[in-house]
Symmetry: C2
Subunit: 512 residues, 2 copies
């Protein structure tokens, strides 16, 4: 598997075979066209060898077979909105772009199940089923652009996953292409399935097990009533206490989001929300369900907010006002551009009860290194998003940012947290896996990948046989999305962990 | 791996090594003592080679290593309440009984997480944390006896899993002993974890991947208000329509259970519930949450029941009255003994919207074969439990029961359903796996088992290595719980599917 420049004989043969599989117009190979596929939402980049856009599950399977014959790596790609480098094609890979597989194939209204293709945009699914009074729950902030297939790969979350869980809780089954080009359903349209949970193992595997070609998802009924509240507090501690009190009262809001002073300062000149001048933190609480229940719960949240000294409380009952309250939160990351030209977003999770302590420690890291850190995050489930603001032209500052990111992740882990809440490991965090996992842990994960990737010889009990039986090409553990998740290994010039390379530039409109 | 009678030299050496690992008093080897470990809740039986009762995770790991050295199969055992033969020790296995590992090790009240040992009885966990206002949600009807470890193995459900999901939704992490005797955590006490979901793959693997030694579970807050309603209907169709209407109204009751006329007839002389004489079906609906919400929802359920012609409606707001309404449902299976000496319980799942059709078809099967079939089941999630009543001394009737069981499962599958709602495959249903899964599907599952059982050689990418690296003994795919889940293979005289052998006798007090 050596790097082959476009235009070599080997590459021309690969391109011809792919064109044969999906049609000439669906293979992208000109260097200027390939540029579009070098990036995802992270700063990492790498040039694909060729991009192929299959129009069906069968064509996708055919592409995998062609890549196998040419002994090429494969990187599946959704909309490329991921934040950890998952869609960046390391090692001169064939990118299988799923943008043409974007249909809702079937909606079973009564049983509330839809079968969709992986390239379908997340929000588009909810839009298409809203006429039945249904919606799809997981709502990454990028939901206007990101795809269901990408959500499956990263087990994506979103503000509303507090009450309803992440993608894996809403995916009933997956049709996938495995390493040998075979098509297989894992799980199915039923809520309960039988046998080992291969579906569960596949969700969140960051494109390293195979290519998703169909997804059976659970739909939910649109709530009768949605009530959104925004409360401003004069201290971060008061806002954190409010979060704890809401949870302690037995409420599970549909969303529970927080923004700190740095974030508020960044947002005021952009969105003019007009928060109180002394606001140190703003909380968004969204409740949904039957009208009476929401009314009762809203009153309880109000009481808790006032008890903790909320200086202002705004409420919204209709879609327009609700969008207004959410606008600042959803655009917050983009607004950091008003403070500094660049930011680096750290995605860590801590136990909810450690939020206040961890935020103090994060602030201390910033103070010590002379860096401004904005916090805008899913408070309800302890998913922090500290954004370190800086100027990437100042080399000295960049080194400090890398140091701060590392220290913040260490703080999360030391407080019983995890490396990633919802953005995956990808390239960006692979060097940090040993902070949380032992060699044995990672061997266990690699063993799972082996099960999907490499067929096993029959053993004496007659029970052998990997997932991808019948493959003829050399077994390659990193056939799909090579160089991701695990530290080290032969990679293709990508950054080893957080380097200057993986510090993301601030772009207006970015959403997290 | 040949069968070795207790008392042979090889067995004496194995016993001595196990006694060395856990102490003489914790190894059971006398034939009369081993009798207790031949059964579980199914009719299948097989004698263990020896039973060992470790007192810690380390001792459990030591037992696995000893079994490896003696090239013996291993069967983990909880309380033996399973209904599909999962704990029956085929192939002359060493049974690792987990009854001594029954402690609650840690309760993190604020984050609502407990670390428990696998031998802890399900209900005991809720009892121990109730002082903190918390409980553990999955509630198999056997919850007074079954263990958390057994629940993990079978991904157990229960009446209250309609709203809250099965065991896998409540297990955050597992400490397990793998095939090489190493101890490993899969997942952890955090809600969100990183890397592949090995925890998810392990839950529901029916003891075939390894032995669970610790479980991190999510606890829930005890609801402010619980309201239970029981409604009698003059037709099964009216009761089924009520179920559909409740779900269509956007309600997700904590439980939604149904009993048919046959079940009512069985229960009247035992529990004297005094249902109306013309009742053809009885429905139990339980709602929980904040008081106002429950009150509103109860009113809605009442309206729906009346609209569908409910002839009687009973309600309960306190624990004593609630237990009263539940008594018949929870004891229903046992009451079948008043109608016939034996029953065979079929555990299948169908899409909720197909319930009415499928129940008619089930009845038709009974009518055609001259068999009485009682239905008592989780209506809310389409988990049927048709109980075929018969006399096991009538050989002709037994053959018809086997035929009926087969036809009912075929009906479930033909209606888009699954083989098992919550009792697993085990021995009982393994012959039926091909009804739902292709060879490729089952190869995929076996591949997953390989990943946990057999280490892989390093491949050229340096990313090889199975879960159980470092094992020295021969790789054996069926090291743990041999002869289960997959059809065929070398087994130890167990029934191939539903045979006369796997028809369960009716015993008073059985709960499903």
């Amino acid at each position: 598997m050596t790097s082959i420049a476009p235009g070599t004989a080997a590459n021309r043969l690969l391109i011809a075979d792919l064109e044969n599989a999906v049609g000439k117009q669906n293979v992208v190979w000109k260097p200027e066209d390939l540029l579009l596929y070098e990036y995802d939402g992270s700063i990492d980049r790498a040039a694909p060898r060729v991009v192929v856009l299959p129009g069906s599950a069968q064509e996708t399977a055919e592409c995998v077979k062609v890549a196998n014959r040419h002994d090429a790596f494969i990187v599946p790609r959704g909309a490329g909105t991921g934040l950890s480098g998952g869609a960046v094609p390391l090692r001169d890979s064939v990118v299988i772009g799923l943008s043409r597989l974007n249909r809702v194939l079937d909606v079973d209204v009564e049983n509330r199940v839809a079968i969709v293709e992986p390239g379908l945009v997340n929000l588009e699914l909810s839009n298409q089923v809203s006429k039945f009074g249904l919606y799809y729950a997981p709502d990454p902030s990028s939901q206007k652009a990101c795809t269901i297939g990408g959500n499956v790969a990263e087990n994506a979350g979103g503000p509303h996953c507090l009450a309803l869980g992440t993608t894996t809780n809403h995916v009933l089954g997956l049709e996938v292409v495995l390493a040998d080009g075979s098509l297989l359903w894992l799980g199915g349209p039923n809520r309960e399935s039988t046998g080992y949970d291969l579906r569960g193992a596949f969700v969140g595997s960051e494109g390293t097990f195979g290519v998703v070609t169909k997804v059976a998802v659970r739909l939910l009924r649109i709530p009768e009533k949605i009530h959104t509240m925004l409360a401003a507090f004069t201290s971060l501690d008061a806002a954190s206490q409010t979060v704890s009190d809401i949870i302690a009262a037995g409420l599970v809001p549909a969303a529970l989001e927080m923004m700190d002073r740095v974030t508020i300062d960044a947002c005021e000149p952009v969105y003019h929300p007009g928060y109180p001048a002394d606001a140190e933190a703003v909380l968004i609480v969204e409740l949904d369900g039957l009208t009476e229940a929401v009314t009762e719960q809203s009153a309880l949240v109000e009481t808790i907010c006032h008890k903790n000294g909320a200086s202002e409380l705004r409420e919204a009952d209709d879609p327009a006002k609700r969008a207004d309250l959410w606008a600042t939160r959803k655009g917050a990351i983009g607004a950091f551009g008003t403070i500094a030209p660049s930011y680096y977003l750290v995605d860590g999770v801590v136990p909810r009860t450690k939020l206040r302590d961890v935020m103090r420690q994060v602030k201390a890291v910033g103070d010590e290194l002379g860096l401004t850190i904005g916090n805008v995050f899913h408070a309800g489930d302890g998913n922090l998003h500290p954004c370190i603001l800086f100027n990437e032209r100042e080399r000295d500052e960049v080194r400090k940012v890398i140091q701060a990111g590392e220290r913040i992740l260490e703080i999360c882990v030391a407080n019983g947290g995890a490396l990633s809440g919802e953005h995956g490991i990808g390239i960006e965090k692979k060097a940090y896996m040993p902070l949380v996992f032992t060699e044995a842990d990672m061997d266990a994960m690699k063993g799972l990948r082996e099960a999907f990737l490499n067929p096993q010889p029959e053993d004496e009990s007659g029970a052998g046989g990997g997932v991808a039986t019948g493959r003829s090409a050399t077994p390659v553990s990193e056939r799909f999305n090579p160089g991701k998740i695990f530290p080290g290994g032969a990679s293709h010039g990508e950054a080893y962990g957080i380097t200057e390379h993986s510090v993301r530039r601030s772009r207006r409109g970015d959403e997290v």
